[in-house]
């Protein structure tokens, strides 16, 4: 019994994913077609890449609200530069993503601004700049290099889209970083107990910097992919996405208090939210705004389960394992 309980506890999100798929199949007979599944994964990829970075930031005990408007900003930059060269169209937005990550980390580490406030002001500033640059209009590139559209529309081996390859690749790299490198483990230490981590010789500031820079890069990459697929840069694209991304992390079991979370969990969290969108697009009897209600409920349920588990440990202090000399 105990074994089963532990399995459910560790794989609750997997069960959630299966439940979602079951629901999707019942509602829509066409769900299990390869076209539809490809579509779901591709749509989820934009948020997914950012969510991997966000997982690291949250594990560090921080947050990044600037990723949403960064999608719009980097998207515009990419599309504008795609008139000149592919390398510029991809390189420059990434550079700006890195820069925004650096600024966020600087504000949090050196100026001691609360992460929420630091990245909130960044979010607003980035949005303003995008609106100025686009003159509040949707931007279309006049003569983009042809290869640019490949980033968002490319298909390998008939069914595998380039965005989903990017998403899976980023996830794998993220998992390796978090599990197999000292830099990744430091993130858990910093978020788990910052003072202790410092005492144990972890460079707290550098760790947070790495997480924020990676997240900035991911936001830029997501923006590039989006405009490449759509072929137009809408200045408000990505607005509010930061909250969807955070929701995906939370559904995947990442704790906003820091120190806890997994790439695999976030990956599944992203898929669950992606499926939800798909289900709502494929049915007619419910207004699609109910999607937000369900996402909200889901987040709440996961957090409640986490809180019950945590408090269970605290209430039954006596049942905690004790050490003894053999």
């Amino acid at each position: 019994m105990k074994g089963i309980g532990k399995h459910i506890k560790n794989n609750g999100t997997v069960l959630g994913l299966f439940f979602m798929m079951l629901l999707a199949v019942i509602i829509n007979r066409n769900f299990l077609t390869i076209e539809n599944l490809t579509n779901v994964l591709r749509q989820a990829s934009m948020n997914g890449m950012i969510a991997i970075g966000m997982t690291m930031v949250i594990i560090c005990g921080s947050i990044d609200l600037s990723v949403g408007t960064m999608i719009g900003f980097s998207g515009f930059l990419a599309l504008y530069l795609s008139n000149f060269s592919l390398i510029l169209a991809i390189g420059v937005p990434l550079l700006f993503g890195l820069l925004v990550g650096l600024i966020n980390a600087f504000l949090i580490n050196k100026c001691k601004v609360a992460p929420f406030i630091a990245t909130l002001s960044m979010m607003m500033a980035v949005k303003g700049v995008t609106l100025i640059l686009t003159k509040e209009n949707t931007y279309f590139a006049e003569h983009p290099v042809e290869s640019f559209s490949y980033v968002g529309r490319g298909i390998l081996l008939n069914y595998i889209t380039v965005p989903s390859v990017l998403f899976v690749g980023v996830s794998l790299l993220g998992a390796v970083l978090l599990n197999r490198t000292a830099a990744g483990r430091s993130m858990y230490a910093v978020g788990g107990n910052e003072e202790a981590a410092r005492m144990m010789g972890v460079n707290v500031e550098k760790t947070r910097l790495v997480a924020h820079v990676l997240t900035g890069l991911m936001a830029a990459l997501s923006g590039i992919t989006l405009v490449s697929r759509v072929g137009a840069a809408y200045p408000l694209a990505g607005e509010g996405k930061e909250l969807d991304v955070i929701a995906a992390c939370v559904i995947g079991g990442t704790a906003l208090t820091g120190g806890k979370g997994k790439v695999s969990g976030t990956f599944i969290g992203v898929l669950i939210i992606g499926l939800l969108t798909n289900i709502f697009n494929m049915q007619t009897f419910l207004n699609s705004f109910w999607e937000k209600v369900i996402t909200g409920t889901l987040v709440l349920v996961v957090v409640l389960i986490q809180s019950i588990q945590e408090n269970h440990i605290k209430i039954y202090k006596g049942s905690k394992k004790t050490a003894s000399v053999k």
Binding site: T181, R185, N193, M199, M200, T322, A323
Partner: protein, 499 residues
């Protein structure tokens, strides 16, 4: 460490303290609050820089400017509050920052194997792969010690490691300490439990008010002498209790019986009559503060009976205590008491809101009148009542706190270390105030680590040790010597003295 000095603004925290540690030795530091133990440890671990004296390590003089310097030399500290990462595994906590690596990144298999070996070497039944916070405090402490050993440390500082452990866990810890000694690691041990100190120490150094009182072998120093060195005052202070309190026909305000609050209170009974000043005496860690916390509802899961004015009551939260006419002036004035950025007027009225408001709106006139009344009555020295509280001296801040609680018109007021951190003159005033409060028929429960303060003011004193009653003294029997004797020798509470 030779003649260490440390000066904080306004206070000389350490005055020429000497301390030396041999390898493979357990050297205990003893002293009450403010004696300078923590300061000395913080200098050794690089948290503070010393203002004078020398630190000599292995025959060489060393200077610590940050917390990493001592760690590099092999000085590790196991703090009271645990300084590890709760969500990571035991093994990872031990090797954090020193991961074994292969080409594919961190080698988890080797890490857990090594960690498990270190744990087994210490004879601990702790699994390296389990998450740290699945274990209790004791086991987490052991892990912390194992980390220190794996860092090849030379000195381990154990800062009150036993304060939250039960008897069996303490035994485990002592087993580990014996193994550390065998490895020639020097141990600095801090504890307030006398029996433990005598069981484990090779030498004991006593500090008092920042000065060095001497280093002794346990066999050369009786428990009574040790207590005297820690809390005793050589000069008998003038002003023995001048109160003439007769409690024979007074009612009890509060009676507490068989209070248990794991792990620090293990069956304490205390009672206070109206207008009586009752003292709780005992060393630090004897449970004196915790008893007060139980009475005021800070300890949700405590057991035992509490009667207020003869009626049995349930006090599960501070609001229950307030409803029953209790008031609590905390020992941590800065963290739990004052609201520094609010005015004196607001600070005084904040607990007495119901009296001065109507339908939820504060009636300014009544609030001003209330503040004025108490500023006059307690002689709080301030230009106006609109002064921010942070601008007042410690003594006057304490008076504002007292005023706040008096404004709730309590039947009993608990004072935990009311004179800590305030100067001698203000101290006298606060003591006078306490007597005045009792004179109005309010019961007072006074907690103080200064025995002379209890002797000067109390009508009855309950002596506690390690969470149990040691004895009770009534006014004619109260003396410094008797209290210190009771701290070391058990003198069971007789029912007659209680009632």
């Amino acid at each position: 460490m030779k003649s260490i000095d440390k000066i904080f603004p306004g206070v000389k925290a350490l005055k020429g303290v000497n301390f030396n540690l041999k390898s493979g030795e357990v050297h205990t530091l003893m002293g009450e609050n403010g004696a300078g133990k923590s300061t000395l440890i913080k200098i050794l671990t690089g948290v503070y820089e010393k203002d004078g004296g020398q630190i000599i390590f292995d025959g060489r003089e060393v200077h610590f400017t940050n917390t990493l310097d001592p760690q590099k030399l092999g000085i590790s500290t196991v703090y009271q509050e645990l300084n590890m990462i709760p969500y990571l595994t035991v093994g990872e906590n031990i090797y954090l920052g020193r991961y074994p690596k292969t080409r594919k990144g961190i080698d988890w298999k080797t890490l857990h194997e090594n960690a498990q070996r270190e744990l087994d070497d210490m004879g601990l039944s702790i699994s390296s792969r389990e998450r740290l916070n699945h274990y209790g405090t004791a086991a987490q402490q052991m892990v912390s010690i194992v980390r220190a050993i794996s860092l090849h440390c030379r000195i381990v500082v154990l800062d009150e490691p036993t304060s939250s452990l039960d008897t069996k866990e303490v035994e485990t810890l002592f087993g580990i300490i014996a193994k550390l000694k065998a490895k020639k690691i020097g141990i600095i041990f801090i504890s307030h439990r006398l029996d433990e100190v005598y069981a484990i120490s090779d030498r004991i150094t006593v500090l008092k008010d920042g000065s060095y009182e001497g280093t002794y072998k346990p066999a050369e120093l009786t428990q009574y002498e040790l207590v005297r060195k820690m809390v005793g005052k050589e000069i008998i202070q003038e002003g023995i209790n001048t109160r003439n309190y007769d409690g024979s026909n007074k009612e009890y305000v509060v009676e507490m019986e068989d209070i248990f609050y794991y792990p620090k209170v293990n069956g304490v009974s205390v009672a206070v009559k109206e207008g009586e000043i009752v003292g709780l005496a005992g060393l630090l860690g004897s449970g004196r503060t915790e008893v007060a916390q139980v009475l005021f509802g800070y300890a949700g899961n405590a057991s035992g009976t509490i009667k207020v004015k003869g009626n049995k009551v349930k006090i599960k939260a501070p609001t229950d205590a307030l409803k029953n006419g209790l008031a609590f002036v905390t020992e941590n004035r800065r963290e739990e008491g004052v609201i520094p950025n609010m005015t004196i007027r607001e600070n005084i009225s904040i607990s007495g809101m119901p009296q001065i408001s109507r339908w939820g709106f504060i009636q300014r006139k009544k609030q001003v009148a209330l503040a004025e009344k108490y500023i006059q009555r307690l002689e709080i020295k301030t230009p106006t009542m609109e002064q921010k509280l942070k601008n007042l001296s410690g003594g006057n801040q304490q008076k504002v706190l007292l005023a706040r609680w008096l404004a709730t018109e309590p039947d009993l007021i608990i004072l935990d270390e009311p004179t800590r951190g305030i100067d001698v003159g203000a101290k006298k005033e606060v003591e006078e105030l306490i007597k005045e409060i009792a004179g109005q028929g309010i019961g007072v429960l006074l907690i103080s680590s200064e025995i002379t303060e209890l002797v000067r003011n109390c009508d009855r004193i309950f002596v506690l040790r390690e969470g149990k009653n040691q004895g009770v003294l009534l006014k004619e029997d109260i003396s410094e010597e008797r209290i210190m004797k009771q701290i070391v020798e058990h003198d069971p509470v007789s029912r007659e003295v209680l009632t």
